[in-house]
């Protein structure tokens, strides 16, 4: 099932493949990207289950430890990622509408939000450790640091993808494959946002 290049792509003068402009059912990005995204979501589902399992074994400990964590750090991170996702959505729509500078600016803003996320995370971690709550303190903090750490790793990968998207969105015309990568990369970023939304609830909100 190799990707054949449809005649509408690479039209001289710069344009976007026509079927992207019609509201037909299409796979955002490409099928392969969803193998990766759904697969990664499945792995995180396992991690969510691990969290709930160990929380279930020591509910009092988890509740007490959660009170030591500042919800503000988590909430700010959620707001930052949600905003970055809006930027990315806007960027993809800008690429479709041939608004290249706007697309790059939007991705730039998304990257700023991502850096903000990581800064906030570092602040939060150093604050926790300074107050004697490190990954070795107890099970709550162990899973807290491991889960947020694995998520932060995904944020880093996502930032790399966003940088690639910023470069691509500056091009006057994109091939079918390149546009698929833009959509697929955007979906990866939304996945990173989605995972954090769940983590925020599991780590900071539930009791």
């Amino acid at each position: 099932m190799s990707t054949t290049v449809p005649p509408s792509s690479g039209v001289p003068g710069g344009s976007v493949p026509q079927d992207r402009l019609r509201r037909t059912r299409h796979v955002p990005g490409e099928v392969g990207a969803w193998v990766f995204i759904l697969g990664d979501l499945a792995a995180f589902a396992l991690l969510f289950g691990v969290w709930m399992y160990y929380r279930g074994m020591e509910p009092r400990l988890f509740a007490d430890s959660q009170a030591e964590v500042h919800r503000s750090f988590g909430a700010i991170n959620t707001l930052l990622l949600l905003t970055s996702s809006l930027c990315v959505v806007t960027a993809v729509r800008a690429v479709r509408a041939q608004m290249h500078r706007l697309a790059q600016a939007a991705i730039g803003l998304a990257l700023v939000c991502a850096v903000g996320f990581l800064l906030d995370k570092v602040l939060e971690w150093t604050d926790l450790v300074a107050n004697g709550h490190g990954p070795t303190t107890n099970n709550y903090f162990l899973y807290f640091f491991v889960l947020t750490g694995l998520h932060a790793f995904h944020v880093l990968i996502g930032m790399g993808i966003l940088i690639a998207l910023a470069r691509l969105s500056g091009k006057p015309s994109l091939s079918e494959g390149q546009f698929s990568f833009v959509e697929g990369g955007a979906c990866f970023w939304h996945m990173v946002d989605l995972i954090w939304v769940v983590l925020f609830a599991l780590l900071y909100l539930m009791h």
Partner: protein, 95 residues
């Protein structure tokens, strides 16, 4: 460019984003919530998260316009994860 930006933002997506922001702000403000019935509060948190996740998937990831099998896979994922985590919560000890 500002005109272009405004044109792009006047879209349902921005409304979805506002809803997501509002939901986050509310959960931030509510704090530890109703101490009298933590299970109800947490169940509500789960439901809200489920809605947020679906909104991100359907609108940001554009799965609303995706072929049905892909959309069903995503919806199925949300449903299975939400119910499993909720069940694990309800069958665990009280926090």
């Amino acid at each position: 460019m500002t005109g272009q930006l405004v044109a792009l933002l006047r879209n349902r997506i921005s409304l979805i984003w506002l809803v997501l922001i509002a939901a986050t702000l509310i959960s931030w403000w509510i704090g530890t919530g109703d101490a009298a019935n933590p299970q109800l509060g947490t169940a509500a948190v789960f439901v809200v998260v489920f809605i947020k996740v679906r909104l991100i998937g359907l609108y940001f990831m554009e799965l609303r316009d995706a072929p049905l099998p892909l959309r069903l896979l995503f919806e199925g994922y949300c449903l299975v994860v939400c119910t499993t985590l909720l069940a694990m919560y309800l069958t665990s000890g009280v926090g």
